[in-house]
């Protein structure tokens, strides 16, 4: 089957899908930036990404998306030391509560009415703060994110893969892009879980994420172009 052989309406629909996916990738990048740096378009460092998936949740937040609200870098070390020492109530009262009070609870409290209030994640008591001392993404959030990624993105990858198979690009490129997208997807969600137990795995998440996004983006571009033109450099010749 040949995409170019489809009628105009079909090719318009396919083009719309590809453009939507490419647009969505931009906002996926924004979501990654916001969740790691707290900024709409700030580039996260490798360490920041690793911390998000493998680090102590509250420490990761202080190093990442909440960093701009942390008065002093020493505070991050104090909190980290407290968690690694067992997160005792006594040390919380003397060392941690003042830090939370200075930098966090203005927004992270049930009664906050500030513009950026985070009433759903209060940090005003020992129990509330201790709940964020686990490593990696909390299980409840991980379960939701993993299954929704697998269900939603695999369908998107599958549709793009089928469309890619109908293009004129070299077969080996089709195999590479389809494999990259699926491997990236599986690697990503698998490493989210593994990073909770093996910290180093957190460093691999940007690679799998990159693989997924690269695969998706490249497939969308190739399919989009092939709908209307001959994709330069990577297409088979007319008689091949």
């Amino acid at each position: 089957m040949d995409i170019k052989a489809l009628n105009l309406a079909s090719r318009l629909a396919i083009s719309g899908l590809c453009l939507s996916i490419l647009y969505g990738i931009l906002y996926a990048a924004m979501a990654i930036s916001l969740s790691t740096t707290g900024q709409i378009a700030q580039i996260p460092s490798l360490n920041t990404v690793q911390q998000k998936y493998a680090g102590i949740a509250i420490v990761s937040a202080m190093k990442g998306s909440m960093y701009d609200h942390v008065s002093d870098d020493d505070y991050i070390e104090v909190v980290k030391d407290w968690v690694e020492a067992g997160s005792s109530q006594a040390l919380y009262d003397t060392d941690i509560a003042p830090i939370m009070d200075e930098d966090c609870t203005a927004c992270h409290s049930l009664g906050s009415t500030m513009t950026d209030a985070m009433t759903s994640m209060p940090l005003t008591t020992y129990d509330e703060v201790k709940a964020l001392t686990k490593k990696g993404i909390p299980w409840n959030k991980l379960a939701v994110e993993t299954h929704t990624h697998l269900f939603a993105i695999s369908m998107m990858v599958f549709i793009l893969s089928m469309l890619l198979s109908m293009t004129h690009v070299f077969d080996w490129i089709k195999y590479v892009l389809i494999s990259a997208a699926f491997l990236g997807l599986w690697g990503d969600v698998l490493f989210w879980t593994l990073a909770k137990f093996v910290g180093f795995v957190g460093y691999l998440i940007p690679l799998t994420g990159g693989l997924l996004i690269s695969g998706l983006g490249a497939m969308a571009v190739v399919v989009l172009v092939d709908c209307w033109f001959r994709v330069p450099w990577i297409s088979k010749r007319e008689n091949s």
Partner: protein, 348 residues
């Protein structure tokens, strides 16, 4: 053949491996030198045309009054700065659809008595009968200000408690021990009619018994200032040229209210005179027109006074950046529109 993939790989690698920028400087104001004449009158002189404009989108508020808040929650704020012969000048403009200069006025009732209008929320603060204000905070020596800006001094109460003390105010301003912030607080009613901004500062006090405003105080003064125009439940002073539109009673013109007063049925809630001493360091004039305040401020680059080193930012080193933050109060006693992060001023 592999060009598109290579491009994507490079772009994605750049996104994932480039280190973050940790500074949170959200804007830089470049101060320039001038010889031109600048009048502090709230009117934009031609001299300002050479001063670079810093535009700041301020869009955060600290609390929601329980009896409603009709003020702005976002505004565009521009600031320019020049220096001339030992003085520093600022031109500031911000959008505000309404001019609010009706702070706790007295209104005469049908039976001839006087009632002071106010509509305070459950924290004891007014957002109805108040005044427009603008504040600039200049860091003096608070380390966290360099990163968090004004938020470094802002401490919101939790469950009605501030530092373990019952306090119904939604938040307080104070600093870490031994540090201060200079606060330039222009007030549409209390300071503007006498051509000043209120020169205040933020310090480390957290004992309301020592200072009811916690860490916020006026600079040292030798005279002048504003007072509530009240005595025995009615206005205390009027002045001969008072009208129903008068913003304040000027101290220099004040005279006691007597029962025969019929010139107006509204009397301002404030009597004011220019501050003298360090608190009067800031010459300022704001004019509201067509939905925008235009405010000019002048101050000596280096102030004198026995506490000026802890109460005033001193523009002594023209090679360094000066950290500051801005906020706007729209007819509100304490609710204000502010921005995250810090602004910097550099001398060119």
């Amino acid at each position: 053949m592999r060009l598109p993939l290579s491009f994507l790989s490079i772009a994605i690698s750049a996104v994932l491996f480039t280190p973050s920028t940790f500074a949170k400087v959200v804007g830089t104001l470049n101060n320039v030198e001038t010889d031109a004449s600048i009048l502090i009158d709230g009117v934009v002189d031609t001299a300002w045309s050479v001063a670079p404009i810093l535009k700041v989108n301020i869009n955060k508020i600290p609390y929601q009054p329980n009896n409603g808040y009709e003020g702005i929650k976002q505004t565009t704020y521009t600031i320019q700065s020049m220096r001339k012969q030992g003085d520093i000048y600022f031109l500031i403009q911000w959008d505000d659809p309404t001019e609010s200069v009706n702070r706790f006025p007295w209104m005469q009732q049908a039976d001839g008595s006087w009632q002071q209008l106010m509509n305070k929320d459950d924290t004891g603060h007014d957002n109805t009968y108040y005044e427009d204000k603008m504040a600039i905070l200049w860091n003096i020596n608070l380390k966290s200000f360099k990163k968090k800006g004004c938020a470094a001094a802002c401490h919101m109460a939790k469950d009605g408690m501030q530092k373990g003390i019952a306090d119904k105010a939604p938040g307080r301003k104070y600093t870490k021990a031994g540090t201060t912030i200079d606060m330039w607080h222009w007030k549409g009613v209390r300071s503007n009619p006498v051509g000043q901004a209120d020169d205040q500062y933020i310090h480390d006090n957290t004992d309301p018994k020592a200072n009811k405003n916690w860490g916020r105080s006026g600079d040292a003064k030798t005279g002048g200032g504003y007072n509530n125009n009240v005595k025995d439940g009615q206005p205390m002073f009027v002045q001969t040229d008072l009208t129903n539109e008068s913003v304040v009673v000027l101290d220099a013109k004040k005279m006691p209210l007597d029962s025969s007063w019929q010139q107006t049925n509204r009397i301002p809630g404030i009597v004011t005179a220019p501050f003298t001493g360090s608190r009067g360091d800031l010459t300022a004039k704001g004019v509201w027109s067509n939905g925008m305040w235009t405010l000019e401020i002048r101050r000596a680059m280096v102030t004198i006074g026995n506490k000026s080193s802890i109460q005033d930012v001193q523009f002594t080193d023209l090679s360094k950046a000066y950290d500051f933050g801005v906020s706007v109060f729209d007819n509100s006693q304490i609710n204000h529109v502010y921005h995250d992060g810090v602004l910097q001023m550099r001398f060119k």
